[in-house]
């Protein structure tokens, strides 16, 4: 345990200087930003809302999709870079992914990329399982 604490202290001490060295380079693309999707389980065709947890770095556009490489829509961020997207879930039950990234235009490079959110679409029908 003492070893582990020592190693953690060492890491913390070194992380600062190393980060500072990195800061001197050209700005790196931010990845793995977080957003929150509600409700947790969605009725097929029902309303879905996604709010940013981590904002885009500045005022820009957010491009989002429900499949890799397929643009579903875009919105402009608020002044602080935060954003909200609303859409109706697909009708096919199962798990659907949500992708989003920040950019200055549809053809611009992604400045920041959000972590994929998987949400579950439920089918509203009577189960006939073995009780």
């Amino acid at each position: 345990m003492k070893q582990m604490i020592g190693a953690l202290v060492l890491l913390a001490a070194l992380a600062g200087p190393l980060a500072a060295e990195t800061d001197g380079a050209s700005p790196a693309q931010q990845t793995s930003l977080l957003a929150r999707l509600t409700p947790a389980y969605v009725n097929a065709g029902g309303p879905v809302t996604v709010n940013s947890i981590d904002p885009c770095p500045q005022v820009m556009q957010v491009f989002w999709s429900l499949g890799p490489g397929a643009l579903s829509g875009s919105t402009v961020t608020r002044a602080d870079g935060s954003w909200t997207v609303r859409f109706n879930a697909p009708t096919g039950a199962g798990v659907s992914p949500f992708f989003a990234h920040c950019a200055f235009g549809a053809n611009g490079n992604a400045i920041a990329i959000y972590q994929q959110i998987d949400f579950t679409i439920v089918a509203r029908r009577q189960p006939r399982y073995t009780g």
Binding site: L11, A93, A123, Y129, T130
Partner: protein
């Protein structure tokens, strides 16, 4: 440079220490294949010229498969063929599908069911996320052991339903003739909530696994289709 080496050595030491604590050591993710086509051709052998059968997606949900692995080996994501568990009788059936017919997704969740202890455990990346008492099949309609996966999630239209607020369909089936046509179904096993909380912890069902309603709500908001379910 020296600082970087020290950091790497420290990181390795920490990883070794944490790994030794039993957190999620030896964990291997599973891979879920979701159909991109309405009817998925299934082959008996990798590279077979003709499919053995076709499996159709339900009307309101894409067909999903759990990719089979051998001895915990990683799935070859670039392979042209995938060996998968099939949601058909007999339980444990497998087959080969073309990678081009599905999309692959990694899954870090796993469910294990201990029938004797009436207990279901949900793990995420090898770490226990929840353990709950469950109701299981009776002695003449037992819940069959095996490796299955979550293939669909239904929300019963009526409140106070036998199945509770949500019901997962599993890829497996009851082996008991008495359960084969329960409620007009085909004997598909399920994991679901209940309108009879007193049945939890007992041998009461036709083969399904009953969990408390707060647990099935949590599962419904968390688990991807294709999550492995190991029943023992």
């Amino acid at each position: 440079m020296r600082a970087l080496i020290v950091v790497l050595v420290a990181a390795v030491a920490i990883a070794a220490l944490l790994g030794g604590s039993g957190g999620g050591g030896g964990y291997t993710p599973s891979w879920v294949a979701t159909a991109k086509v309405a009817d998925v051709p299934v082959y008996g052998l990798r590279g077979a010229p003709e499919p053995r059968q076709h499996l159709a997606s339900p009307e309101d949900a894409p067909l999903v498969f759990l990719v089979r692995t051998t001895d915990g080996r990683e799935v070859d994501l670039d392979a042209e063929w995938l060996h998968v568990y099939l949601p058909i009788r007999p339980n444990g059936s497998g087959g080969w599908i073309r990678s081009s017919d599905v999309t692959l997704r990694r899954n870090d969740y796993r469910i294990t069911v201990d029938l004797d202890d009436h207990e279901l455990t949900l793990r995420h990346r090898g770490n226990v996320q929840l353990t709950t008492p469950i109701g299981v099949g009776t002695s003449n309609m037992p819940t069959p052991g095996g490796v299955y996966y979550l293939k669909e999630l239904l929300e019963p239209p009526e409140d106070d339903d036998l199945y509770g607020p949500f019901a997962y369909g599993l890829s497996g089936f009851s082996d008991s003739p008495a359960a084969a046509n329960f409620r007009g179904g085909d004997g598909t096993l399920g994991i679901h909530g209940t309108n009879d909380p007193s049945s939890i912890g007992k041998d009461v069902s036709h083969g399904c696994i009953r969990v408390p309603n707060d647990v099935i709500r949590h599962m419904a908001s968390t688990l991807p289709m294709g999550t492995p379910v190991e029943i023992d």
